[in-house]
């Protein structure tokens, strides 16, 4: 399984009810179903990926995330997962609020725009960073809401979201000492497990 999905799978409790926003070919949900007895559903809009989900017996629902999640009742899931998609949704704040309305907890992963390579690229070349993980040019990128880990944590603070857990990795999805010391400089991806505002 994809390395990032293994990390997420470890964060999900057995038997949980999981909603995967942008579930791709359903790899995570199939794994959770087979190994953790998870009752999961995935939202996806790519026709080819949807067909793959159908063939693999994954509960896939064709739904555009930018059209909202109003069709899901409050508290209908234990965990709502969004893998490397937050940076491409139209309204990230609304999305985070919705995820924590529907689910008691959520897991969000995204690439770090504060990584030293991005900083160096921008500083040295004076152009928008293009890399292996952010391969698009500014004019055709789906990533319209890129941020650094610090930006994201500031938003969580403003929204009073509870960061239960954070796991930062490098490009190989490995966690190294230097990353933990300077995550916003050396971390490539972060996995945030978030809870509702604490009262």
């Amino acid at each position: 399984m994809r390395a990032d999905l293994t990390i997420i799978a470890d964060l999900v409790n057995p038997g949980a009810r999981v909603l995967d926003l942008g579930c791709g070919d359903g790899e995570l949900l199939a794994h959770l179903r087979d190994n953790k007895s998870v009752n999961g559903y995935g939202l996806e809009i790519d026709p080819v990926k949807i067909t793959t989900c159908v063939k693999n017996g994954v509960n896939v629902i064709e739904q555009n995330l930018d059209a909202g999640l109003a069709n899901f009742p409050d508290d209908s899931f234990d965990m709502v997962v969004m893998t490397e998609t937050l940076q491409s949704v139209r309204a990230p704040v609304e999305m985070l609020r919705e995820m924590l309305r529907i689910g008691r907890e959520c897991i969000v992963t995204f690439p770090n725009f504060g990584h030293w390579r991005c900083r160096l690229y921008l500083t040295a070349r004076g152009r928008m960073p293009v890399s292996e993980h952010l391969p698009h040019s500014w004019f055709d990128t789906p990533n319209i809401h890129l941020c650094t880990f610090l930006d994201f944590e500031r938003l969580c603070q403003d929204l009073e979201l509870n960061i239960i857990e954070r796991f930062v990795v490098d490009a190989d999805h490995a966690n190294r000492p230097l990353i933990n010391r300077f995550p916003n400089f050396f971390g490539t991806f972060a996995f945030y497990r978030l809870g509702r505002p604490e009262r």
Binding site: R17, N39, Y41, P47, I50, T51, C53, V54, K55, N56, G57, V58, N59, V60, I61, E62, N71, F72, P73, S76
Partner: protein, 384 residues
């Protein structure tokens, strides 16, 4: 039948007849003294009879879903594109059963049948049947065929409603319900179109209160109008523009008289041919069954509650340009199924062919449907 068609066709099929000899109480309170269902089967049952698939037909459909009745048939059954060797519902793997519903006019007991009490055709006195009655009659057919459990029950439009009723009423006898271009109930707009169609028939002077047969006549005009209005609602604006545009069939629009647009000619042809092959009383009866279908009504209009007793998996397919059974109606079903914690896959197929799309071999539609049945086949053979 061309050579290439023969490779993927179920070939020549012969309709069969199932006779239920005992009294059959309908939901309306009236009883039929017995009934017959005409049906066809395609493919071969496996030893455990675990590979059976029930195909439910829509408003104007019948039991002839695939193949040909004779070598000289010009057209195959209504869902031949989907049923056959190597097709989405693969007859190399599944044993497919398709009956004509109770109240139909193609061989099953219906308004054209003789009422044993009077010795005359039932005509307009044939009792009102419901989707639930159809399911109960199909259960008896399954018993007759030795099918304890269908691997899947599949249908489009009104057929999808039957699949849904199966899931609710017979949770132990259905592995998967495949609902295509269906709805949990009709909208006011949808009922309105049915009522226009009914009024077209009822107001035809040849209808004679439904006793047209004994008068030696037929409400051709009413049926034709009913089909024309129905047909327009099964297409989309874009689809009609693409298919007909403003093309002129005959006449000269500059002279402004005797002009016939292609679309007019097409609708006339569809309406006329329908009036020759369909019974008006059956049409009325089928539209009432459609209008009255509302399984959530018994659960305080709570669709989640209605679906909570189901145990099968669900596949929900809708089409982007279908406004008669819109994608939003299918979404209501899949949302309720998610809340009811059922396994469900749901997708919206891009198409400009309106409601009619469910009968057409649209590549993505068949990919999804074929993928779903492929998975069912793997699980069915894995289980047996």
């Amino acid at each position: 039948m061309s050579q290439t068609a023969a490779d993927t066709s179920v070939g020549i099929v012969e309709p069969q007849l199932f006779r239920h000899p005992a009294s059959f109480l309908l939901q309306c309170g009236e009883a039929l003294p017995g009934f017959e269902l005409v049906y066809e089967t395609y493919g071969t049952p496996d030893a455990a009879m675990s590979n059976a698939v029930l195909v439910c037909h829509a408003l104007s459909g019948n039991h002839h879903a695939a193949g040909y009745h004779s070598g000289s048939d010009e057209r195959p059954g209504w869902w031949d594109a989907c049923i056959g060797p190597g097709k989405p519902i693969d007859t190399n793997r599944f044993f497919v059963v398709c009956p004509n519903n109770l109240g139909g006019c193609h061989g099953s007991t219906g308004p054209l049948s003789i009422n044993p009490d009077t010795g005359e055709p039932y005509g307009p006195d044939f009792p009102k049947v419901t989707v639930r009655d159809w399911v109960r009659a199909q259960v008896l057919l399954a018993d007759h065929l030795g099918i304890r459990r269908f691997a899947a029950v599949v249908g489009g439009s009104l057929g999808g409603m039957q699949a849904m009723q199966w899931a609710i009423d017979e949770p132990d006898r259905i592995g998967a319900a495949v609902l295509i271009a269906a709805a949990a109930k009709l909208s006011a707009q949808n009922i309105a179109f049915n009522e226009i169609a009914r009024q077209a028939i009822l107001s035809d002077p040849q209808f004679h209160g439904g006793h047209y047969r004994s008068r030696g006549t037929n409400p051709d005009l009413g049926l034709m109008l009913a089909r024309m209005v129905g047909h327009v609602t099964y297409l989309s604006d874009d689809g009609m523009r693409r298919k007909f545009g403003r093309e002129i069939k005959s006449g000269d629009i500059r002279l402004g008289r005797d002009v016939q647009f292609q679309v007019e000619s097409y609708l006339h042809y569809q309406g006329r041919s329908f009036s020759k092959r369909f019974d008006a009383n059956t049409y009325l009866l089928m539209t009432y069954a459609l209008d009255y279908f509302d399984p959530a009504a018994e659960y305080d209009d709570d669709l989640v509650a209605a679906l909570s007793g189901t145990r099968c998996d669900f596949c929900i397919i809708s089409f982007s340009s279908d406004w008669r059974f819109s994608a939003a109606r299918s979404k209501e079903i899949s949302d309720a199924l998610i809340t009811a914690r059922r396994n469900v896959v749901s997708c919206v197929i891009e198409s400009d062919q309106g409601h009619d799309a469910f009968l057409l071999p649209i590549p993505r539609y068949f990919d999804v449907l074929g993928g779903y049945f492929d998975r069912l086949a793997r699980e069915t053979t894995g289980a047996s």
